[in-house]
């Protein structure tokens, strides 16, 4: 889908929300839902940042780290990919305090979702690095660069372009799994909607708004990543399209 179509959808979704908000049966719920959405966004953004950091670190450790580091990274990736985000949330929030490690719910939410998605992300980063042509490494060695210089200046900038679309998918996955955080006492968008629904039974307006708000958020991610991809690949393929 072209970036224009996506922007069109985003504008349409926002317009529908605006239109519905003119009716009191809808506008009644909007402030509460937006409050929940704010928490959802905070968790999603911080979790995504953590996921990228962990994804890059784990990928580099697995590819180029010394044996213990490589081993540690593999254990991390396998544990967080092999168990569900829900189990990880519960572990960090209910089990770790039994061993004396107590964290507030918000920190746990960001940690669990960020670490979970970072484990998938490390495979994305690893694959993109390995996909860079071997000739690029060889040219860098012939220019006597250090390993760190090669990675930073030559390999990662080229791998970056290939990483953007799969990271976009992961960010959307992360956004959707924020709905799990209600299970550790946080009042995110999904939980706020359930609360309001239980007390008012106005199912249609509440869940119509919830659907639209999630859609706006995921469209924003998709558009942002598309934009990034276009910018990044322009540098790589200048003139190639002509």
């Amino acid at each position: 889908m072209g970036i224009r179509t996506l922007v069109g959808m985003l504008v349409a979704a926002l317009a529908v929300i605006g239109l519905l908000a003119t009716q009191t049966s809808y506008s009644l719920f909007l402030p509460g839902l937006l409050q929940g959405a704010l928490l959802t966004i905070e968790i999603a953004v911080l979790g995504s940042v953590l996921a990228v950091v962990m994804g890059v670190l784990a990928a580099l450790a697995r590819l180029y780290g010394a044996a213990p580091l490589r081993w540690l990274a593999t254990v991390y990736v396998e544990i967080f990919r092999g168990t569900s985000a829900l189990v990880q949330l519960f572990w960090l929030f209910f089990v770790l305090p039994q061993f004396g490690l107590l964290m507030d719910a918000f920190t746990v939410a960001v940690l669990a979702l960020g670490l979970n998605v970072g484990a998938y992300g490390s495979e994305v980063v690893r694959g993109a690095i390995l996909a860079v042509a071997p000739g690029q490494w060889e040219a860098s060695i012939a220019l006597n660069m250090s390993r760190a210089q090669m990675l930073r200046r030559i390999i990662l900038p080229q791998a970056f372009v290939a990483m953007i679309p799969p990271w976009g998918n992961l960010f959307i996955e992360l956004l959707k799994s924020t709905a799990l955080v209600s299970l550790i006492t946080l009042t995110d968008l999904a939980f706020k909607a359930q609360q309001m629904n239980q007390s008012t039974l106005k199912t249609v307006p509440i869940f119509t708004l919830v659907l639209l708000i999630y859609l706006v958020m995921s469209l924003a991610i998709t558009i942002g990543m598309r934009f990034l991809e276009q910018r990044a690949s322009a540098g790589l393929s200048r003139g190639r399209a002509a």
């Binding site: 060695i141 220019l143 003139g239």
Partner: protein, 259 residues
């Protein structure tokens, strides 16, 4: 020190599993000497250059550069395998140009040429750019500094790659079939540049080539490789004019018929 060979392969072997690619290679190359390597496909020509560039490890022997071991280092009078720091220090003297150019696609011609001088040698941008501009001018690309590799022809890309390698001020330049990926009409411009740097720079040059005419005219010495060994070597006039070995004669006959 001056009669020290610039490069010395001392009984070097390279194996891939059970396959012996180079078998006890010994070869001295003098300072400033231009040596061409010819031979059939699979005879180990590329491997020789790649070992010298440290793109491949070696299984036996020692490679020396200006009297200093490249693949090894001295530890209490004994040679032990070199660590990365030692390798980087010695390999700073060597540059290489590849068959497939291997330019950095996300950088302009100019950026390709100043990247390593800045990050590796720590040159200031202005100095690196001045030097790169000189080199790009020399290879006839002063108009193309801002172009990206994808905007350049094969011949132009290869000339940028030559300028990029020279920007690191190597003493030894390796060329591995640098015209083989080019359309025939672009070969000449790249060979012209190699001729020119051979004249203008005090470089030791080692090139693998299928261009017999160029090897004849350009090199001081030609080495004919066959099955991982130097089968025959000598000045081009002798090797091309009066080859002694039957395999050399066969190879040259086959190449002449094909060309």
């Amino acid at each position: 020190m001056t009669d020290q060979p610039m490069v010395r392969f001392d009984n070097v072997s390279k194996r891939y599993g059970a396959l012996t690619v180079l078998d006890g290679l010994s070869l001295d190359i003098a300072r400033g000497e231009k040596v061409s390597i010819i031979g059939p496909s699979g005879s180990g020509k590329t491997t020789v250059l790649r070992m010298l560039m440290t793109l491949e490890t070696i299984n036996d022997g020692v490679i020396w550069v200006e009297g200093e071991p490249l693949t090894h280092m001295d530890k209490g009078g004994k040679l032990v395998p070199a660590n990365l720091g030692h390798i980087r220090r010695v390999r700073a003297k060597i540059g290489m140009v590849f068959q497939s150019f291997n330019l950095f696609p996300h950088m302009s011609a100019m950026a390709n040429c100043i990247e390593a001088p800045m990050t590796v040698l720590g040159m200031k941008r202005a100095d690196a750019e001045a030097r790169a501009a000189e080199l790009l001018d020399m290879v006839g690309l002063s108009q193309k500094k801002a172009h990206y590799p994808s905007q350049l022809s094969g011949g132009q890309q290869q000339r940028v790659a030559i300028a990029r390698a020279l920007a690191m001020r190597p003493k030894i330049m390796l060329f591995d079939e640098v015209t083989s990926a080019l359309d025939p009409e672009l070969v000449g411009e790249v060979l012209q540049v190699i001729r020119q740097i051979g004249r203008e720079h005090d470089l030791t040059m080692l090139m693998v080539t299928h261009q017999m005419g160029f090897a004849k005219e350009f090199s001081d010495r030609v080495c004919f490789f066959y099955q991982g060994k130097i089968c025959e070597q000598g000045p081009p006039s002798e090797l091309f004019g009066a080859p002694k070995n039957e395999r050399t004669r066969q190879f040259l006959r086959a190449v002449l018929e094909a060309g």
